[in-house]
């Protein structure tokens, strides 16, 4: 028996219009890669693989969305959220491949997102309130994947993105300001205080775009969630308030995740004796040099060399 979601995928893929859309998307991707080559950002392979991976994931996810949205068991909802956090930690570690980044990212994203989501999910316990996530029955059974999963995904993905920006910024600023930090340590300051200004700038860099988005709400941006709710028949005022609550959740989760991530990440730069950890600095410097974002061109070269080697070895054995 073929599962329903596979039948749905097949039905969608058999439509001509979907292939036209894929073609158009592919043209845009080629343009992006071209721009990246032009500007020497070395993001070509990242564009390609991210979009390929993202497309496969979202198609599969979209297909099983119906199943997930129907989930009503609280442990199942937590398990799905946990899995999303695991994947977010993995994605962050791939993008920022620094020591212990997976564990740090995973821990930070999971702890902040799950706390925020728990508060949101169980907000229906406030008397006379049906909860931030609509819960008609007013019991645990009233929590469904239909609301919990999309909101959870927004919270987790924001936390992942903002904490990633903060870590990258912290890393480069600490390396750049090594002299000033050492000057502060030499005056008797603690490493945490010596990098406090750097951390402050990291949080600002990560959170400012979202704050700006909130500030321009309704004039420059109409968020997808709010638009969807209005289209779905929810009164605009209700949808707008809902959107504000969502933004606050996103900002809180992002901020908490950034703080946890940066505290755990930046601790590695220093020893217990309040010194720079030279081994860690060297490790980071080496990682910087071995640029993980290999150009597509380089990958193509390597692939061709591999094929050549294989051919040669076959010829020799013959």
């Amino acid at each position: 028996m073929v599962p329903q979601f596979l039948i749905d995928i097949w039905d969608s893929l058999s439509q001509t219009s979907i292939w036209i859309r894929i073609g158009l998307a592919f043209i845009l991707l080629v343009v992006l890669i071209g721009l990246s080559f032009w500007q020497k950002t070395k993001l070509e392979s990242k564009f390609f693989w991210s979009f390929l991976r993202g497309t496969i994931q979202v198609v599969l996810f979209g297909s099983i969305l119906g199943l997930i949205f129907g989930v009503r068991k609280i442990w199942m909802l937590y398990l799905i959220l946990f899995f999303m956090c695991l994947f977010a930690g993995f994605t962050n570690a791939r993008s920022y491949p620094y020591p212990r980044m997976f564990l740090i990212g995973f821990f930070a994203i999971t702890s902040s997102s799950l706390v925020i989501m728990t508060l949101v999910m169980f907000s229906y316990v406030v008397p006379g309130f049906d909860g931030i996530i609509p819960n008609e029955t007013g019991t645990i059974a009233g929590l469904t994947g239909e609301y919990v999963i999309p909101i959870g995904s927004m919270v987790i993905s924001f936390a992942m993105r903002v904490s990633g920006i903060a870590v990258e910024r912290a890393k480069s600023d600490i390396i750049k300001s090594k002299g000033s930090i050492e000057a502060a340590l030499a005056l008797g300051d603690s490493p945490y205080r010596a990098i406090q200004n750097i951390l402050r700038d990291c949080y600002r860099a990560g959170l400012t775009p979202t704050i700006n988005r909130v500030a321009s709400l309704g004039i420059v941006t109409i968020p997808g969630l709010m638009a969807g709710m209005i289209i779905g028949g929810i009164p605009p005022v209700e949808a707008a308030i809902y959107q504000i609550v969502i933004f606050l959740m996103l900002l809180s989760a992002s901020f908490i995740t950034s703080i946890i991530t940066n505290i755990l990440f930046t601790r590695q730069f220093f020893t217990e004796k309040q010194q720079f950890d030279i081994n860690f600095l060297n490790k980071i410097a080496k990682m910087e040099n071995q640029t993980t974002r290999t150009l597509l061109k380089e990958r193509w070269k390597k692939w061709r060399e591999k094929i050549k080697r294989k051919k040669n070895s076959v010829e020799t054995t013959e």
Binding site: G179, A186, G188, S190, Q274
Partner: protein, 247 residues
């Protein structure tokens, strides 16, 4: 070779100190006692481990092997922050913090809850030959020499008993260099122990009374400045200063 084993009466003593990074030896088996009366210079060619030696003294780095003692106690057992309050350090570049000269001067005292009146800060500026009106100036507008003098005053604000200086005048003009040298002489005469890393033989002659000569991570000589410059002629000294690459 004229190295000296450390003793408990020394200000600093290093016993069998080695330092290496990922297998690369920076300092090897250093045994020396430093009793700073006057100014002690650390000299040697580039890459001889002078700055590393200095950083070991205020625990900005720890030896891979061996013991560094300060006033007879192993600094590994001392709290880094408290040790650094007693042993101030001026780096090659000033590395001032964003803000005014005043906020820079008060950076250390705030950590240690040392209260300063503005008049006392002005006195501190006077020690490094800066006028009182510098106090409220933003560090962005200062010249390199002025910044380095603020950096020196910032270290002094912690009221250290020892001052370590890592080539503090390398990037400065002659006038600023002279001012800093005069300040250091004045501080030494007031009882502050000074240890300075320098690559300038002229500065070594002008400033130091004792000197430690390092080469390729080894302590080659510990002697008085007078003795060193009397024993060797310029040609010999310049040959000492050639490193492996002949630079």
């Amino acid at each position: 070779m004229n190295t000296t084993k450390g003793s408990f009466s020394s200000l600093f003593s290093l016993e069998d100190v080695c330092f290496d990074i990922e297998g690369k030896v920076i300092l090897s088996k250093i045994n020396v006692a430093i009793d700073t009366s006057g100014i002690t210079g650390i000299i040697g060619p580039s890459g001889s481990g002078k700055s590393t030696f200095l950083r070991l003294l205020n625990k900005l780095i720890s030896p891979t092997q061996g013991i560094v003692k300060f006033k007879g106690s192993d600094i590994a057992d001392m709290k880094s922050q408290e040790l650094r309050k007693e042993i101030g350090m001026v780096l090659q570049r000033p590395f001032l913090f964003k803000g005014t000269v005043k906020s820079n001067l008060l950076y250390g005292p705030k950590i240690w809850n040392i209260d300063y009146l503005d008049s006392e800060l002005v006195k501190l500026l006077d020690t490094v030959s800066l006028e009182a009106d510098f106090l409220e100036r933003d560090i962005e507008g200062l010249s390199g020499g002025e910044q380095q003098r603020v950096s020196l005053a910032r270290s002094l604000a912690n009221q250290p008993i020892v001052l370590l200086l890592d080539e503090p005048t390398t990037a400065l003009d002659i006038v600023s260099e002279e001012i800093i040298e005069n300040t250091l002489k004045q501080l030494a005469s007031e009882g502050i122990k000074i240890i300075i890393v320098t690559h300038s033989l002229e500065q070594t002659k002008r400033l130091t009374e004792q000197l430690l000569f390092l080469k390729e991570g080894l302590m080659i000589e510990k002697t008085t400045s007078k003795d060193f410059f009397e024993r060797y002629n310029d040609q010999e000294i310049h040959s000492f200063f050639k490193n492996k690459e002949g630079k």
